[in-house]
Subunit: 550 residues, 2 copies
């Protein structure tokens, strides 16, 4: 009687895993692809076109995942459902949604099915205009919480998105009783009542030092927004690992799990990976490396590190301050380069060798000595979050010659993202919160060239999160805590977490060579990112129209 | 009795054309590909490997062109050889070669066939180490001629290359009686005695105000070099259009032309194109646009324009100062991008449409509004000649996003080279020699997108040199002057030159939009090219080894 289920709700699919809480053994897993995926061009219900920067989801897809992936994972594990003692979940964030008082998604309320603002606003939906006001008013008023978010509230987060609903569809705003993260809504569906966690409230809803933003502040954003917190947001916040409630009969029916087992409170996909990799002590930074990279780290002290995404007390593990930083483009940039800049002969060579193009280029690039390509790049093709907090920055490459080849640029782009991480490490060190150990998780850890470059550039050994299930294992660990199998998340991490320590270690000579290139990176970083030359902003604003693509 | 023959000796082939001197009608032409092409990897005679930066030619290939292309062009013209009254030639430069007193190329002297230094050093052969000393000593001594060459004597020119022979193969240096441009040597072969022109001496051999560099200066470069000028270079210099002599019986045998007809003095391919396009008056600048761009312009006054390649009295047309400026990478950069950065689907689309990849990308890029791609590039992938005179600079692109596509970068690169030309125009204007009219010749004039962008960026109408024969027509015009058909090159240009005036005219709105982008270009140009950030030099020097390719 020690099995737990973790469900990781990602951008395009949900993954369920069944884990033995005694040793972390992953016994079975299953994936469910969302039927509506991401609605970023049209609303499925009407076929109506959506504006740029929009990205919606249909919450039915999440419930469908509970009905399919969970029972499938249990079957794959070869255990009896009766042996499962708890279920935990994690979600993309910030992905907030409007619901009625009973939890019904607004988009399922008759008359609202055809309204885009009634759906889940996925993390990659941006309400930039509203975020600009959220920030401007906060700066003007000197709101103390602003510095906890690197000085900038994101256009992805709850306040900007809620304000967008209010302004663009006041009826929808009026009709919604509650506004919450899908991370918290899915828990509501499992245990039958609303709960919220310290984590989502802190990182996505500006909850700091026991309070949300004041009514004064909200009124200044919009008079109708004054009671947003009290009416649609406020309520008790539960710590991570807490038992949100018991699995309802209805949810037991969906999942095939026993009614009444423990349901743990919601969590964020990146954060839940930290205990899964045993990276939860002070100074242990975990990079979750995929299309973008999320850096999470715990520390005993509160510090305001410039350009971080957020620092929240008890935000990742209870008892410590949880720091989050981020790079907005990492794997995305490599994929863009592969799709848009690699000439046919490399594709043919890769085919002839029977390897993926990424692997072919990685091998060619891996044969080079540091600096041989003569290039330095800025990894800002998708803007910059940490430490500049400026999404209008753009990518740059310098050093191009007629002898520059695809593998050279590919390597330079990988190096640029590693330099970007080093800038973040430097910022933490400068703020008195040095990073003592570096962990990596996510899809990119399978590329040895990327991993070795990160070790060399940061001059730190890399410890890898080796679970194949990623965040789902972390969610299962939280379920084990909620079910009382383990006393707390530390104890769970001890026996259920998995890490390959020192999987990559820095090479002294290469690290020395990178020090010199990093100096160039920093000089370019500061020149183009801190006002020396404002060309990136000018180019962005001078565009006669938003290009439709991309 | 008014036909003339022009022969243009290019990098890989020579082209002969038969022209009617009365109206410039091009009656027939023929091309001869050099058997040895460019020897830049191995010496054909021995198979021995050549160092990087080397590029040799075998002068037998030039004679072979006289034997094949000239009679073929005459046959194609359908005229009798007896009706030809003169022959003129132009050549790549600086492409100097060592010869004996009787004109025998050193590489044809027994015992020297296997010595690389006995061959023609093609323009793209670089003697950088020697050029650095040529410049350092000149700067130190304050040689007044240095400013005539934009402050930098090129590693492509005669002094650096001769010094390289002396240092690396003293026996070859000792054995050679004369050192001269292939442009002058081919005339020697045609008329039987050595002549040199004001043009090659001025632009490639530092002949200014009636003198070559002094013996004092030469001794300081190397004691053994003291008598280089007096022993191997000096002699009378003939004006352009002069009759070097009469076609010898031997050369008449090679070419099938009548013995005794006029042979005009040698000339440089870029310069000879100016009269062919009727661009020979003060303020008329001609851009010869191919892999690189050469800018030539005449003016009544002498001015020292920063970063030009050279200014020579009577250097392009008698009576005026001839200015030359240059961009080291233009078509080369576009070709590099096409080869190295365009993904397969564009190749497939071009194939499906039955058009060349250049045309396909040009069409896609041509549909964009100015600034829509959000990019600015520096066109320095092959260094920069005018106005920075720094071959260690490199290319840069800024503004990249995940939505950037191949046609965006392609257009940005074209624009960058146009901005590079505008920098040159600005430098001439600032030096008090404004460019009044802009002409274009060379392979790139066939690309309407490139031409329109140049017109828009410079805000000047473009007049095109429309002869299919390029420089060969200009050589034929000089032959007509040497033969006495026309009084001088102005008169010849009047009746034989061909230009399509106002082939492209600037669009006001686009020109305005480009003004803003040009400001960014100039700021990047100055920051990276004038010491604001020395990253390009550092990257070049930090490379652990010269990459073999390219």
């Amino acid at each position: 009687m020690s099995y737990v289920v973790g469900v990781d709700f990602g951008t395009l699919s949900a993954r369920a895993v069944v884990v033995d809480a005694r040793d972390g053994a992953e016994l079975g897993s299953a994936v469910h692809d969302y039927r509506h995926a991401v609605m970023d061009r049209t609303l499925a219900a009407t076929g109506a076109e959506l504006p740029p920067q929009w990205a919606l989801q249909d919450p039915d897809d999440y419930l469908e995942a509970l009905r399919t992936a969970v029972p499938e994972a249990v079957r794959a594990a070869g255990i009896s459902p009766d042996e499962v003692v708890g279920i935990g979940t994690d979600f993309t964030a910030s992905s907030p949604m409007p619901v009625l008082a009973d939890g019904t998604p607004l988009c399922k309320v008759p008359g609202f099915e055809d309204r885009p603002h009634a759906y889940v606003k996925l993390w990659k939906h941006h309400a930039q205009q509203q975020a600009d006001r959220v920030n401007a008013v906060a700066e003007q008023r000197g709101e103390p919480w602003l510095a906890r978010y690197g000085g900038r509230i994101s256009s992805e987060w709850e306040f900007a998105k809620a304000l967008q609903v209010l302004e663009e569809d006041p009826e929808a705003y009026e009709r919604m009783d509650r506004w919450l993260e899908a991370a918290d809504w899915i828990v509501w569906q499992l245990c039958g009542h609303e709960t919220r966690t310290i984590c989502t409230a802190g990182y996505k809803a500006i909850h700091q030092d026991g309070a949300y933003p004041s009514e004064d502040y909200l009124r200044q954003l919009d008079e109708r927004f004054e009671d947003f917190v009290s009416a649609k947001l406020d309520g008790p916040l539960l710590p991570l690992g807490a038992r949100a409630g018991d699995l309802t009969a209805e949810a037991a029916g969906w999942t095939g799990l026993p009614e009444g087992i423990a349901v743990s409170v919601g969590n964020i996909d990146a954060h839940v990976t930290a205990p899964a990799a045993r990276a939860i002590e002070t100074g242990q930074m975990l990079m979750i490396m995929g299309t973008s990279t999320c850096h999470v780290m715990n520390a005993e002290q509160l510090a305001e590190v410039p350009g971080m995404c957020g620092v929240v007390r008890d935000g990742i593990v209870p008892g410590l301050y949880g720091y989050e930083a981020g790079q907005t483009g990492v794997g995305d940039i490599f994929a863009w380069f592969l799709d848009e800049s690699v000439p046919p002969r490399y594709h043919e060579e890769a085919r002839a060798r029977g390897v993926a193009l990424h692997d072919h280029l990685s091998q060619l690039a891996g044969e080079q000595e540091v600096g041989a390509h003569g290039l330095v790049a800025l990894d800002w093709n998708n803007g910059n979050r940490s430490v500049l907090v400026d999404h209008e920055l753009s990518g740059l490459i310098v050093g191009l010659t007629l002898a520059t080849r695809a593998e050279d640029i590919y390597r330079a782009l990988i190096e640029a993202t590693a330099f970007g991480t080093r800038v973040i490490l430097d910022a933490f060190a400068a703020a008195g919160q040095p990073v003592a150990e570096l962990f990596a998780a996510g899809g990119l850890i399978k590329n040895p060239l990327v991993m070795q470059i990160y070790a060399d550039v940061t001059r730190m050994p890399l410890h890898l999160a080796v679970s194949e299930q990623g965040p789902a294992l972390g969610s299962a660990m939280h379920a084990a805590v909620a079910a009382g199998v383990h006393a707390d998340i530390r104890a769970a991490a001890e026996v259920m977490g998995k890490v390959a320590r020192d999987a990559y270690v820095p090479d002294e000579a290469r690290a020395d060579a990178y020090d010199a290139l990093y100096e160039h990176y920093v000089r370019l970083h500061d020149h183009f990112g801190r006002g020396g030359d404002d060309v990136m902003h000018s180019l962005r604003h001078a565009r006669p129209r938003e290009l439709a693509r991309g």
